[in-house]
């Protein structure tokens, strides 16, 4: 079957380039066979264009569609979620390439290309990804230009140039829309990619883990209003684990907190438990730009408050976002480092929660804890005794031996080697066994100070676990048993400490972090990071400042004012285009007589009697005489004057008379209609 419609040559070229670019953008999260079949389909389309191959038959097309659907099901095992849906769209896009019968088919493909390219920003929104998306729009736009025959078919570069010009002209408008357009909250849940690597997860089981995640990816960045506090004060609390089942530490279910709600939103009345928090002195003010975690929890120094309405404070004094953090999130925080938490008393049921230990695990630790408690009744002394034990006999290592059923027993009295999670877990177990309420806190510790910019970079390998114990009259106190074993872990940054070890960054083989010791490369790395941070702060985090900006600009945010601002700013953005058009317009060389004649034509055009381009004044007058007889006399007189002024070249006052006659010439639509 021959195609019903032949796609223009340059359009096909750019269409195929668009397909390849789309495949390239999504290569990372597409099944390889989908990308491969895209290339095959493109080759098929080329052969179709050359009339070497035939269109696929109906049966083949249906079976290909079926095979793709089945392949996707096999590959993902489900059809929900972002990645399978994008892959499904992609297979449809690729199969559509095999049936370009009409112009509309090619148009559908091009519009789909735009959609698919934009979908890339759901997976990554770094500065590099955004620039790539912008560049990827170019071939699609060029194909669209070629499709509409704006150029002759021969050279694809012509279409590219036009496309480039169009995109460049659109950029000012893009910026205006970005700055002014109010953000509408997502109307539906945006499906999210499933692959996010974080150093912190919602549970912790030290016995199972023999290698700490050594991932150099950025967890979040923090910009302080004042100086950055010392390294050993930077305990970024993320999650609190109060529940232990013998192997695994987990969060306590929120409903087990019986008095009052678990979350305190900033725009709601204060919960009763808010009085448990005593904040002293000046708060530390800072803004965190968190990378996507796909989880609700946020990181902050104790004890935090966030003015953001989408961030809540939880019962265990950490910050929680109202929806999973699926893309970079900027949130402002104020933290009172000098605080007292729940100093008054802990109700009985809370005691139960914070002391609960699973039966049948770690008998030796339980016995020794009871024995020590009897020997050292003072809580502070008791804690110090255990920390002393850590300090003397334990070794901090990133490669601890595996533990069996009684993880705490084996660690405390056997292997004595481990990293933060081992110490936090055993410490809390020991405290609970001795009747002291305690819990595990996980989050990040420390961070890398950017040498020139005033912000802190916290990476996944800064993930840390520590403990909090509750002491009557003093409330919840942070105790970091790791600091007792390896104080340098807390004083220095993790990277400074472990850069020499092989395990360091074993999960990020291509990270620039490997080359920290090469000075200029290290500088480059930090420069890139500050660029990326600026992008995150000003572009991705623009939502957070837009409101204030618009308020400053408009006084009040009302639809009318926003529309006016949009029009105004859009007008300014388009001003260069107008100026260019004005400068490049055809010079008006018409003399007065022709201008008057054009006025005369325009007046007749207004009542529905346009002059055809090649129609001479006399023919025009004759036609008007037929269509609107009531105008005949005036029109004939005007035509006579124009002709004699224009063509007879007799020096007379015809021009003046034409002008005068034109002044009196006011044809109305009525005259035309009644005449007709």
């Amino acid at each position: 079957m021959r195609p019903l419609w032949q796609i223009p040559r340059d359009c096909l070229f750019w269409l195929l380039v668009s397909v390849f670019v789309s495949i390239g953008l999504h290569l990372e999260h597409l099944p390889p066979w989908v990308a491969l079949s895209g290339i095959v389909a493109a080759l098929w389309q080329i052969q179709l264009y050359r009339e070497r191959w035939h269109q696929p038959g109906r049966l083949l097309k249906w079976s290909l569609a079926g095979a793709c659907g089945a392949g996707l099901l096999l590959h993902y095992g489900r059809m929900t979620g972002l990645e399978p849906m994008v892959a499904l769209l992609f297979t449809g896009y690729i199969l559509k390439l095999l049936e370009i019968h009409h112009r509309r088919d090619a148009l559908v493909l091009l519009y789909l290309s735009y959609l698919i390219i934009i979908l890339q920003s759901l997976f990554s929104s770094t500065i590099v990804a955004s620039v790539l998306v912008l560049v990827a729009l170019l071939p699609v736009t060029a194909a669209l230009v070629a499709m509409h025959g704006a150029t002759d078919n021969s050279r694809p570069t012509t279409a590219l140039r036009t496309g480039l010009a169009m995109i460049l002209q659109a950029i000012p408008l893009m910026l205006v829309m970005f700055i002014v357009m109010p953000r509408i909250g997502s109307l539906w849940a945006v499906p999210q990619p499933n692959s996010a690597t974080t150093g912190v997860s919602d549970s912790m089981s030290p016995g199972d883990m023999t290698q700490l995640g050594r991932n150099g990816a950025i967890a979040f960045r923090v910009e302080f209003d004042g100086p950055i506090p010392e390294q050993n004060k930077l305990y970024w609390r993320g999650l609190v684990f109060s529940s232990f089942d013998g192997r695994r530490w987990q969060q306590q279910a929120p409903q087990s907190y019986r008095d009052g709600r678990f979350l305190q939103w900033s725009n709601q009345a204060l919960e009763a438990w808010d009085k448990d928090i005593i904040r002293r002195g000046q708060p530390l003010s800072y803004r965190v730009t968190l990378e996507a975690t796909n989880s609700h929890w946020l990181f902050a120094l104790s004890t935090p408050l966030s003015p953001s309405s989408s961030v809540a404070l939880s019962r265990d004094f950490r910050l929680v976002n109202n929806e999973p953090v699926v893309s970079k999130l900027l949130y402002p925080v104020r933290s009172w480092l000098d605080n007292q938490l729940q100093a008054e008393s802990l109700p009985g049921w809370r005691h139960q929660i914070e002391l609960a230990l699973p039966a049948g695990y770690n008998p030796k630790t339980r016995a020794i804890a009871k024995q020590w408690r009897a020997e050292t009744p003072d809580t502070a002394a008791f804690i110090n005794r255990l920390l002393g034990l850590y300090n003397q006999e334990f070794i901090y290592t990133l490669r601890p031996p595996a533990l069996g059923r009684h993880t705490v027993d084996e660690f405390l009295w056997g292997t004595k080697k481990g990293f933060c999670e081992f110490y936090a877990s055993s410490f809390v177990f020991f405290m609970r066994a001795a009747g002291i309420p305690a819990r595990v806190v996980v989050g990040y510790q420390g961070g890398e100070r950017h040498p020139s910019e005033n912000y802190l970079i916290v990476r996944q390998y800064d993930a840390h676990a520590w403990a909090e114990v509750w002491i009557e009259g003093r409330g919840w106190l942070r105790v970091d048993p790791t600091a007792a074993v390896a104080p340098e872990r807390i004083e220095l940054s993790f990277a400074d400490l472990f850069a020499e070890q092989d395990e360091f960054l074993s999960e990020s083989p291509f990270s620039l972090e490997h080359l920290r010791h090469i000075n200029w490369l290290n500088n480059l790395r930090l420069k890139l990071d500050s660029l990326d941070y600026a992008w995150a702060k000003w572009v991705l985090g623009y939502d957070n400042i837009q409101n204030d900006l618009l308020l400053d600009l408009l006084g009040a945010i009302k639809p009318q004012r926003i529309a006016l601002l949009l029009l105004f700013a859009g007008g300014i953005a388009l001003l260069p285009v107008f100026i260019m058009l004005y400068l490049s317009r055809e010079k008006n060389t018409r003399d007065e007589l022709d201008r008057l004649f054009l006025q005369y034509c325009a007046r007749l055009d207004n009542i529905g009697l346009p002059r055809e381009p090649g129609e001479g004044p006399r023919d025009f007058a004759q036609r008007i005489g037929q269509q609107a007889p009531s105008l005949t006399a005036q029109v004939d007189a005007l035509t006579q004057l124009y002709e004699s002024a224009r063509y007879s070249e007799v020096q007379g006052d015809d021009l003046k008379r034409f002008k005068a006659a034109l002044k009196a010439f006011k044809p109305s639509r009525k005259a035309f209609l009644h005449g007709a």
């Binding site: 022709d594 004649f597 381009p613 090649g614 001479g616 006399r618 023919d619 063509y647 007879s648 070249e649």
Partner: protein, 307 residues
């Protein structure tokens, strides 16, 4: 002068129309061609009134008229004339051929050999013939109406583009409209009126009109319009080679004659538009379809604005 030429034109047209019914526009164009001093090519099927037009024009203008049927064995001497030995005078005497007439109808010019064609065309261009070293001027006015049959091209020698250029205009008479045809069928043979047709113009008047054509005014903006028309044919994607400057001059000359016939001493765009197609269509080397050139010309006229 302009009013007078209008009256004379009307008189001639009226006389011709009494014989050749319903072809006023073609008659006017043929007359404009004569006023402008050019020659006319009529391309049409047999029986459309080509000969009648030529005869009626000759009679209405009062020109000496002859008709030459061009055949493949026609020789240049058959047209131009030949020197014959006169025994009484004991010398060669030139016997002028049919071309020594004021109006020559060259019927089916494409049937004869290129040699004969070029003899005729040369005479048309020069206004004189050279026989045996002697140059003999042709009578004034000298007006050739050539016809050719667009069909049955076998055994013909189509005129090359360079020779088509010698004709100021090419006309197609076409079928008469129904009204005219009914009149034609019901009445007596109009040709019978030819013998009684009186002339509507004196030779002096005709010479005056021909002289007046070059004095018709052409304004700057009109020249500009014509130039844009020519430029359009050169830049159009559909036309391989646009109209030559000589073609442009031919348009202007014809438009002047047309304006004069309308009683004006200046040219207006409508004059150009009236003569553009007959003057230019045969100068456009386009292939594909009999009326393609005319269509392209019409397209040009529709596209180019007059101001």
């Amino acid at each position: 002068m302009s009013k007078e030429s209008q009256q004379i034109t009307e008189a001639i047209v009226e006389r011709v129309e009494s014989v050749l019914v319903g072809k006023q526009h073609s008659v006017r164009l043929a007359l404009a061609c004569l006023y402008a001093g050019g020659h006319l090519l009529i391309e049409d099927l047999p029986g459309m009134g080509k000969t009648t037009l030529a005869q009626a024009l000759a009679a209405a203008i009062g020109l000496s008229y002859t008709r030459v049927q061009f055949t493949s064995d026609l020789l240049p001497a058959d047209i131009i004339g030949v020197s014959v030995y006169d025994r009484n005078k004991a010398s060669f005497e030139f016997h002028p051929g049919p071309i020594f007439n004021q109006l020559v109808l060259a019927d089916e010019i494409n049937r004869t050999t290129p040699k004969t064609q070029s003899a005729l065309l040369e005479a048309m261009a020069e206004g004189q013939v050279s026989v045996e070293g002697e140059t003999r001027p042709l009578p004034q006015p000298f007006y050739v109406i050539a016809t050719q049959n667009p069909l049955s091209q076998s055994g013909t020698f189509p005129l090359p583009e360079s020779q088509l250029d010698r004709f100021l205009m090419r006309l197609r008479l076409g079928y008469p409209d129904p009204e005219a045809e009914r009149q034609l069928l019901s009445g007596a043979d109009p040709r019978s009126k030819l013998a009684t047709l009186s002339r509507g113009v004196t030779p002096l008047q005709l010479a005056a009109i021909q002289g007046a054509v070059s004095r018709v005014k052409v304004s700057e903006s009109l020249v500009d319009y014509l130039q844009r028309l020519l430029q359009f044919t050169r830049s159009s994607a559909d036309i391989d080679y646009g109209i030559s400057p000589r073609g442009g001059m031919a348009v202007l000359k014809s438009a002047r004659a047309w304006a004069l016939m309308d009683g004006r001493d200046y040219v207006i765009p409508e004059d150009i538009q009236a003569v553009f197609s007959p003057v230019c269509a045969h100068r456009l080397p386009v292939s594909g379809g009999e009326h393609r050139a005319e269509n392209l010309i019409q397209q040009t006229l529709n596209s180019v604005d007059i101001i």
